[in-house]
Symmetry: C2
Subunit: 639 residues, 2 copies
């Protein structure tokens, strides 16, 4: 994964600099400039969408919501097939090559790519047999894979593990943690090593190394500003999450866009890419949005340890024809509106542009743009604070000016953390920048922003799961203490089909054709209904098929049926023909909703039978649980 990540970064930077070169060399004809600026991302995104979609339908989007669903025990066929790998890599490279115009990242797809490799490695491993064992082993591999994905994008092993855990699981075993750390460290190490071998850097250092003054990182009263920044990030993330979810649903409902997305995906991408690149054209609005910077340059410029308001006092009025790598911040300077204006324009425009970009059906990550957006929020707050208090806040002692770069760091961590409902973005920010002096204020901002976002909105990934209608188990909020009182008998499904162990071919055929459950309870006989075990639908179908093959008389329906003895037709009973798997977990009718939810979450259950004195009285699936939880939140709707 480190090799893939490095090769992708390398290719993307070459393609992007070719684009900038073309844009410079095309001369001073506005039309040519405009075309050279817009055609590049349009072509790349069209190719990205088309190529990925033509190979597989699973390559689009981030992949984290689906991985999260898989880790709860749902089987999404083919989603982790290694065949998707190439399509996603090529598509993602093209997406990233569009740069800050399309404003998308690579974290999500990398998590998906690593999980594919993990699943593939899991399959070729000589394994002990058995469904349970394989499931356990596969989950271990997938969790480690997700950690590697994050670690190889940012070269950040510890937060790679933590972020992937927070994003994809609801429970985890400490022993998985070790495996995750090991593979993530190897991945991050290799990723940074390649940068050294490629002579980009002299030695292994952080990806976005900052050089903040650490003798006096921040003054105590600044804590208030950091908390304030956390509040802003929290509120903005709620607005973003709401708009994103609403818009994602809207393009699926609207007849025009829905048809485009169903049949002409590349065309949709082309339209969106053209709109986005027209807006970022440096001769129009783009000059107020630092649109000539790539994603990496944007982040580097925002994390600058210098104070822009100090730098801007000596700046020339002319805009440099090319981006100056040592003074990236100059791109944010515009004499008419100063950098406060450009930052504000950036925040306003990128808000809806990002919402729009997330609907594009191509492989793309949504973490990095959110991170950069948060850094811009933080920079704005930090620069405002530095402008208001140029000599620092406390009057006594030597002046200790405010460092706006630290606010950018806190903003990035807080905004990305609240959008994804994670706390480890704080650590990610430190690992990416190689400095940890601002740990307490950054953590404060992240906690405040998370508290607001978690209260009002589902996370970005949960939102996508909801919109995509993937199986989903909502969490029970602490304030719903009724969840301890509601018992299983109140919400269990009592309308279900049971199979007797004496069931014949006919019985089974009837059950399989009239119902669509994945698993059936097997009882000793229809009267007593004592639970014996469970049987998978797939085993039943196999039983029917093997039986059909051997019972030749069936193929001649014209014959008198009376001559065929019933036992010849039905051959064996269920007991003889199939292996009935034992049921280890049975709920009782008095199990509380909270406890049932906890069991489903911890053990990744899909369904559980409810027994009373050994007799099956009900069945609980994730559907029933979800309904019961939703009734808690909204009591007038149900019961």
């Amino acid at each position: 994964m480190a090799l893939v990540s490095f090769a992708m970064d390398f290719t993307v930077s070459r393609v992007a600099s070719a684009h900038l070169w073309l844009y410079q060399e095309v001369g001073d004809y506005p039309v040519l400039k405009f075309l050279s600026w817009t055609m590049y991302p349009v072509a790349l995104s069209a190719f990205s969408t088309g190529f990925a979609q033509s190979i597989t339908q699973h390559a689009g989007g981030s992949g984290i919501p689906e991985l999260k669903t898989i880790l709860t025990g749902v089987i999404l066929e083919e989603y982790l097939a290694i065949e998707n790998f190439g399509a996603k890599v090529v598509g993602l490279t093209c997406t990233l090559a569009c740069g800050s115009t399309i404003f998308l990242g690579k974290v999500g797809p990398f998590v998906h790519l690593s999980s594919m490799i993990a699943a593939y490695l899991g399959k070729i491993r000589t394994s002990v047999s058995g469904e349970y064992e394989n499931k356990i082993k596969q989950n271990e591999m997938l969790v480690a894979g997700a950690a590697v994905g994050v670690a190889t994008v940012f070269g950040a092993p510890i937060s790679g593990v933590l972020f992937s855990i927070e994003v994809v699981s609801s429970h985890f075993a400490v022993r998985d943690y070790w495996r995750g750390f090991f593979s993530a460290t190897c991945g991050a190490f290799m990723f940074r090593l390649l940068a050294v071998f490629n002579s980009e850097q002299e030695t292994i250092i952080a990806l976005f190394k900052t050089s903040f003054k650490i003798d006096f990182p921040f003054d105590l009263p600044e804590t208030i500003f950091f908390t304030f920044l956390g509040v802003i990030c929290g509120v903005l993330s709620c607005a973003y999450l709401f708009c994103q979810r609403w818009f994602l649903g809207y393009v699926r409902r609207n007849p025009f866009t829905a048809r485009l997305l169903a049949t002409e995906k590349p065309l949709y991408s082309v339209l969106v890419a053209f709109l986005l690149s027209s807006i970022t054209f440096p001769h129009s609005l783009g000059r107020f949005m630092a649109s000539r910077l790539s994603m990496k340059e944007l982040l580097t410029s925002l994390l600058d340890n210098r104070t822009w308001s100090v730098l801007s006092q000596n700046v020339s009025l002319d805009r440099p024809p090319q981006v100056d790598p040592l003074n990236l911040w100059e791109e944010w300077w515009h004499p008419d509106i100063t950098f406060f204006g450009t930052l504000s324009v950036f925040l306003v425009m990128k808000f809806w542009m990002l919402v729009l970009a997330t609907t594009m059906p191509m492989p793309a990550g949504y973490f990095m743009p959110v991170f950069v957006y948060g850094a811009a929020i933080g920079r704005l707050v930090g620069e405002a604070a530095a402008f208001l208090f140029p000599m620092g806040i406390t009057g006594e002692g030597p002046p200790s000016p405010i460092i706006p770069g630290a606010y950018a760091l806190a903003g990035a961590a807080a905004f990305s953390g609240s959008v994804t409902h994670t706390l480890s973005t704080a650590l990610l920010a430190f690992e990416m920048t190689g400095q940890i002096a601002h740990i307490l204020p950054v953590l404060l901002a992240v906690l405040v922003a998370n508290a607001i976002a978690q209260k009002f909105q589902p996370s970005f990934y949960d939102g996508t799961i909801i919109v995509k209608k993937l199986p989903y188990l909502p969490r029970i909020r602490s304030r719903h203490i009724e969840s301890y009182m509601v018992t299983t008998q109140e919400f269990m499904n009592t309308d279900f089909v049971i199979l007797s162990q004496e069931a014949t071919f006919h019985d089974i055929l009837q059950v399989v054709t009239t119902t669509d459950a994945q698993e059936y309870p097997v009882v000793d006989n229809a009267e007593s209904q004592m639970l014996l075990g469970a049987i998978q639908r797939s085993s039943l179908i196999q039983f029917l098929q093997s039986h059909e093959d051997s019972s030749l008389p069936q193929e001649e329906p014209g014959k008198e049926v009376g001559l065929i003895p019933d036992r010849l037709l039905s051959g064996q009973t269920l007991k003889e023909g199939c292996t009935i798997s034992p049921v280890s977990l049975q709920l009782s009718p008095w199990t509380s909703l909270h406890q049932a939810h906890n069991l489903f979450e911890m053990l990744n259950l899909q369904r559980a039978f409810v027994t009373q004195l050994g007799k099956v009285v009900g069945i609980v699936t994730r559907k029933e649980l979800r309904k019961a939880i939703e009734e808690l939140a909204n009591p007038k709707a149900g019961r």
Copy 2:
């Protein structure tokens, strides 16, 4: 907890400086010097032991092993009672005031103290009733409490959460993580804030702030040295863990020490403290061990960003009469044996001194000494590397000298991590020092050291659990794939007592007096043995007591029993007199050992009934599981 931690640090530093002052002022009489040096720790440790033991027997030691046991669902009565709080605080303050002579820390007791507060807060909270709910809520509080304990000792919120999770749990819910982060951040923030208010520092910075050069933190080939350091730390930690466990068992077996520990605990502490302080006396061996430095000063000196071999070229031959706070490293310098000698003496002597100190029956933590010890290992390796390659390793370019302080950091993280079997010590090292540039080499060292230690020895806390014979569930190693094949019916206990729902007073009395299980299965009747639910021993005793009170005839045994109808004596049956709690989890005889182990670990089970067609056929407790797991590791012993 932050207030307690700060007040304790403040007191300890005052007491310790009073000790040093006394030692300086006592004049040049060797006997007086010796007495003033030794009597202080002897008196303090005697008081610590005596005071803590006189109030409660639970105040001694670290507390983490017991907390770990409690979090697996075992009820250790009174261990978290708030009454222990004062005793442990006072005792711990005295222990810490002994300084580097006794060489003990405060992490473990702080985890214990915070858990006490957490349990207390949990009790006074108005709660929904019900055993299950309270257990869930209490565990949430305890995990957050443990995080606060670590965070307020080091001012390190993120690693506080992670370290406490790794040490005390085997599984955890991501939602607990949030609570832990919140409380740990508050704790760490308050702790560092108090230092600012007390004018110790100008603003909030790391506790052991380092100032390593971060432009070129380390050269690539140094990775090999870091890995080598990891190997050394791993091997030494195995040796330490083995010796510590053996010696802890030895003092319990040896008749003399066992009697001392049973009856005269303070005397044992006095003897050990006298031995330790005689050795660290600065006029004898102490001058080779930097014994005039406190624990904090030791760590600060070892993490010095300067290279000792460079500094020592200009050092005067005379030893300064007092410790120079700006040149703490001079304490490590001795003209006869240089600092390589002093570091080696320190490592050799402190190894067995620490093993000895851990047997002292007073409140004390064992993490900080291990951390300092690891830093010394790292410093030795780092100084040796800097001595061998004075201009850095690669010849080309500007010289990039090796930073021995970074090796000290890596050594501290690797050794403490391998002793406790945790990885988050790496992060702790960064949070404590405020610099994260060496993340990859430090993580490498920690991973290597952990791999070695986890392979050969149980962790420090597990070792203590084993020696103290607390209930303990060993983990199943990945290589024991038979754990998937062994089924519950092979190891379940089939010799158990069941209660019929029709059981009378006599039956219950007989069951309670002849057996000692904590929970009994209740069946519908003795023939069919269909599992109805379970009943706690305590409910049975309550039933018997309430019944005894009302059945006056029992009090006159002289009377003719024949006159009392049986139903008057036995009053009610079990069904009528007690509430039978439903059983939500039943194992099947074909559940694999791995799955059963997983369920016990995740759900903190103490026992589970094994049913077949609703009929109780066995019972599995942690004892059976442990035996089965031990048989896996040692197949010739069993089966």
